[in-house]
């Protein structure tokens, strides 16, 4: 009758399952990253306008993609967690947030590293960089809210709601920033990828994006395992696990 008790016990079954999946995703990420790096550095041709500096896009663009994908995935897990009152989904949302924030930060830093040689300025208020900056604020807000609420159940649900509010707002924010950008800067700066991109360049970017994606899965699983351990530290199965591992 009490289905809820099953849900409460599910972290226990998920913990070893995640442990088994992590090595697979890790190695897949390594292989994809190797292939991606090989294509980006050895095969992709030099860009005739930007020289070799354009190779930054092989991390910048995938990182920017991931930052958005992770936010959407986070909101998705949050919605599932809220709707079904499933603890594991909320934990997944929580586990994704720091990785998303790191990718957002990487997109920002690599964007400005790309901007400096191209436009001679470390920071330009271009629509994509500005949106990434706001996305970083959204991630930070989510993490700050979760960490300042002591009761994990309330933290899960409040964070989930915030993620949903954020995901509704992201398109509006993006649109408004674009609007603002075209008004104030005209079309002088466009950080979009060059229109005539060689197929190998696209391949490199896709491979790197896939590598990041798989890496995200692996890291999120690792973090969700940590969260499970921390939350369930007083349960018997975790105690058994921790002492059994020692002996």
């Amino acid at each position: 009758m009490n289905i809820n008790w099953f849900k409460y016990s599910s972290p226990q079954t998920f913990y070893p399952l995640a442990g088994k999946m992590i090595p697979w995703f890790t190695w897949l990420a390594v292989v994809l990253a190797m292939a991606g790096l090989y294509v980006s550095f050895a095969i992709a041709p030099t860009d005739f306008q930007q020289g070799e500096a354009y190779r930054i896009i092989f991390v910048h663009v995938p990182a920017a993609w991931m930052s958005m994908v992770i936010y959407i995935a986070m909101a998705g897990w949050a919605a599932v967690g809220l709707a079904l009152n499933a603890r594991l989904s909320a934990m997944m949302a929580q586990a994704l947030a720091p990785t998303g924030a790191i990718f957002t930060l990487l997109a920002l830093v690599t964007g400005s590293l790309w901007g400096k040689p191209m436009w001679g300025a470390w920071w330009v208020w271009d629509a994509r960089l500005t949106s990434e900056l706001i996305l970083l604020f959204l991630y930070l807000g989510f993490m700050a809210l979760q960490s300042s609420i002591d009761d994990p159940r309330r933290a899960d649900r409040a964070g989930a709601l915030l993620a949903l509010v954020g995901v509704v707002n992201v398109p509006i924010i993006y649109f408004s920033v674009k609007w603002w950008n075209t008004l104030h800067q005209g079309s002088t700066i466009n950080m979009g990828v060059a229109p005539k991109m060689a197929a190998t360049m696209l391949l490199g970017m896709l491979l790197m994006a896939l590598a990041f994606w798989v890496y995200t899965v692996a890291v999120a699983l690792m973090r969700v395992r940590c969260i499970i351990l921390e939350r369930e530290c007083s349960t018997d199965w975790v105690k058994e696990l921790s002492t059994g591992g020692q002996a």
């Binding site: 500096a53 190779r55 590293l113 400096k116 530290c233 591992g245």
Partner: protein, 54 residues
Amino acid sequence: MQWASWSAFFNMGGYAFYVWFSFGLTALCVVWEVLALRKRSQQALRLSQLLAQN
């Protein structure tokens, strides 16, 4: 192959700092995140071990 020599590869057409910094930082973030998580899970296990002993 795109590169005449290793030094040309490392030089990145004069953009060495920007390119290598970008990739280096990304690698650093990845390594740091994995190590930090490993440490975090060990700490969590140690905590519950302490709880189990008491």
